[in-house]
Amino acid sequence: MESTRDIKGRIKSVTNIQQITKAMKMVAAARLRKAEEKAAGARPYADKVGELLRRASANVTGFDSPLLRAGEVKKVGYLVISADKGLAGAYNSNVMKKIVAEISDKDRDSYKLYLCGKQSHNYLKFRGIQEDSYHFGFSDKPQAQDALELAKEMIDEFISGEVDEVYVIYTKFFTALRQQVTMTRLLPIVADAGDTASQDAADNGVQAEPEEFIFLPDANTVLTRLLPEYVQVQIYSSMLQSAASELGSRMAAMTAATDNATERIADLNLTYNKARQAQITNEISEIVGGANALE
C-alpha cells in the first residue's frame, strides 16, 4: 500500500494538471466563438465570389485561362492544413491519417506536399517524408494575408507545371464536437454544381434565367481577375474552418481531460482516506497489542 504522503503528492499533481487543462479549455472556448464567427463571416463573401464566377463564365464563351486547364495528371499537390500545437484530441491525427492514406501508395515524385502547421511537419518528418514547402504560425488565427500568400504559391506551382492538380486537405467545422477532414480540389478550378447546371443549360441552348450582364471593362478581364480571387477565398475559408475545428477539438479534449482529472482526484481521495484509516487502525492495534503485552 502506498503511503499517505505519496498519495497526497499525486493528488496535488493531478490537481495542478486539472488547473492547466481547465485554463486551456476556457481559452479554447473563448477563441472558438470568435473563430466560428469569422468562419461564418467569410461564407457570404465566398458565396458571392463563386456566384460572380459562375455568372461571368456563363457570359463568356471560349474563355481560356491557365487556371482552368485540366490535363493529364502526373503530379498532384496537396495543401495540408493542420495545427501548430497539439493537445487538440484527434484533430491533427485525423488530418495526418487522411494525408497518409492519400500518399502511401504513391511514388514520392508523383506528389508535392505543402504543409501548414507544425504538427504535420513534425509527423511527416517522423515518418521520413520531406515536405516541399512548410508554413506555420497562423493555424488558429489565419489572416486573409496568409491565404493570399498560399494562393499565390499554389497558383505559381500550378501554372509553372510543377503540379497538375492541387487539393486542399482541411477540417470542416460543424460543431465543437463534430468535424470532418475534407479534401477538395483547388486547381484546376472546378466547375461546381451550380456551374455545371448553367453549363448544361447553355449547351442545350436553354438559358437558365435571362442573365444579361454588363461587364466592366469586359467579361474576360473580370473573369481573369475573379479566378485567383476564387482560389484565395477557398483557401481562406478552409483555413478558417480548420482553425475553428482546431479550437473546437482542443476545447472538447480539454473538457474531457478536466473531467477525467476530477474523477481521478475523487479516486485518489478515496485511496488516501483508506490508507489513512488503515494507518490509524494499525497504530491502534499496535497500542492495544503493546498494552496487552504489559498486562
Binding site: E37, K38, G41, A42, P44, Y45, A46, K48, V49, L52, R55, A56, A144, A147, L148, E211, E212, F213, I214, F215, L216, P217, T221, V222, R225, L226, E229, Q232, V233, Y236
Partner: protein, 139 residues
C-alpha cells in the same frame, strides 16, 4: 421619372472577414473599374465590374461617404449593389500617420530607381497609401 432615379438602392460591401458596410436608401454609388470611373443609380442594368484601388463613393441623403476598396468587384442586380473586395477599409478606421509614412516610404523607393527595387510593388504600395489618405480627407 425622377422618382425612379432617386429612390434608394441597397448597398452591401463585403470583405473576407464579413460585411464591412451595409446601407439602405442609397441614391448613387461611384466606383472605379480598371478602365475608368463609373456610377450606378437605381434601375441600372445588371452589371459586374472589376474594381481597382480607388475609393467607392456612396451617396445617401445628399451626403457622400468614401470607402477605401483595394481591388475587388462590384455587382449590381435588381437595385442591390454588392461589392466584394479582398480588402475594405472605412475612413474612420484608417491610421493617417501610418498611411503618411507608407506614402513617404513608397515615394522614396520609387525615386531611388535602384535595380533591386520592385517598382510594381512600390507603386502598388503608393497607390494604397494615397487611397487611404484620400479617403480620410473625406471625413
Amino acid at each position: 421619372m425622377a422618382d425612379t432615379l432617386t429612390s434608394p438602392m441597397h448597398v452591401e460591401i463585403m470583405s473576407p472577414d464579413g460585411a464591412v458596410y451595409t446601407a439602405d436608401g442609397v441614391e448613387m454609388v461611384v466606383a472605379r473599374a480598371i478602365d475608368g470611373e463609373f456610377a450606378v443609380m437605381k434601375g441600372h442594368l445588371p452589371l459586374v465590374a472589376a474594381l481597382t484601388i480607388a475609393p467607392v463613393r456612396v451617396k445617401k441623403d445628399g451626403k457622400e461617404k468614401q470607402i477605401a476598396v483595394f481591388n475587388g468587384f462590384l455587382e449590381i442586380n435588381d437595385d442591390r449593389v454588392n461589392i466584394v473586395s479582398p480588402q475594405v477599409e472605412m475612413a474612420e478606421d484608417i491610421d493617417v500617420a501610418r498611411a503618411q509614412a507608407a506614402k513617404k516610404r513608397a515615394e522614396e523607393r520609387l525615386a531611388s530607381k535602384s535595380a533591386d527595387i520592385d517598382t510594381d510593388r512600390a507603386q502598388l504600395a503608393l497607390n494604397r497609401a494615397l487611397l487611404r489618405l484620400r479617403v480620410t480627407k473625406s471625413l
